[in-house]
Amino acid sequence: MPVTPLAQLPSTRSVPGSRLQVKRGAADTIVSTAAPAAPVKLSDGAGGFLQISYTPLYDCYWVVRGGTIWHGGADMSGWQRSDQALTITPADVNGITLGHQQTMEIYNLGTVEWRSYMCSYMFKLAAGVAYTAAVVFQYSASAYSSQYHTGPNYARIIGRVTGEGATV
């Protein structure tokens, strides 16, 4: 990634400023999931998704962090695996569409309470491309169900732009 001296920055654009995006859950609901055939974006509880979008003016990195609280469904037997993940569309400069896939060890609903899970990834973005990053339900072991909370105090995805034109 080239480094752009200040004197060469276009005068018709804002200076690089490390922009920030925040999307919280929109309503207190509990969503049940089952093993998906494909990744499913997490709901915000009010008809939207836990996702953020950004179109950079400069090549840059996008640090994205997201997640919510989870527990197992009533049909779980012992500890089981369920995964949330961070995705991006279109693919970033490195060809990444699936960022971090976070495994979550969860238990039958009636035995173990809620657990918090957050994860992060750093995507490399190209100037002028409209990107969307989302928190998704990625995988569940043996078709066991799980549940997540969409409340604004639990569910969130946050993006921060860094390294605009200047990376190590």
Partner: protein, 168 residues
């Protein structure tokens, strides 16, 4: 200390963040949980980032995401890991301007029919100007007995970026 825009050298980029990122290798592999102070690896390469050496004070944000498994045994076990701040010249752990040299997670897990679980850690180090800083991901003092973590692009990542250049 705030650096006025007019005083900023025209021959270097604006201070909008330097970034570095490393993820697990394409050829996934389960690896034994590292001992206290021993680095996590990606295909034999230690998970370390840097050098970050700026001409003004700055905040170095670092984050790590991993998945792990307590693969044998019958008791609850601690799986600790830490992000250390170190000098890339000497290799020695150093403290930031707030006296912090590392941040650590302790994740206990039961091996009862266990499943892969995930964990995430992040911190912001306050760094002095003119020092060769790096961050590295290492095992912590918890035993980590019989534990493994998984090296893959979507299951192990480590990132760092700078903010607040010249502002503090």
């Amino acid at each position: 200390m705030v650096v006025a825009l007019a005083a900023w050298p025209s021959g270097q980029p604006l201070g909008t963040g330097r970034a570095a990122f490393k993820a697990g290798p394409a050829a996934g592999a389960a690896v034994a949980w590292p001992a206290n102070g021993v680095a996590f690896e990606a295909a034999g390469v230690p998970m370390a980032l840097g050098t970050f050496n700026l001409s003004y004070r700055f905040i170095l944000c670092a984050f790590a995401n991993l998945i792990f498994y307590g693969n044998t045994g019958t008791t609850w076990t601690r799986y600790d890991y830490a992000i250390q701040l170190y000098n890339t010249g000497s290799g020695a752990t150093v403290t930031d301007l707030n006296g912090a040299s590392y941040v650590q997670n302790a994740d206990s897990r039961d091996a009862e029919g266990g499943a892969w679980s995930g964990s995430s850690l992040e911190y912001k180090f306050y760094c002095e100007a003119g020092i060769n800083y790096g961050v590295r991901l290492v095992g912590g003092p918890g035993s980590g007995a019989n534990g493994i973590y998984y090296q893959a692009p979507t299951t192990l990542n480590f990132g760092a970026y700078t903010v607040g250049e010249g502002v503090y």
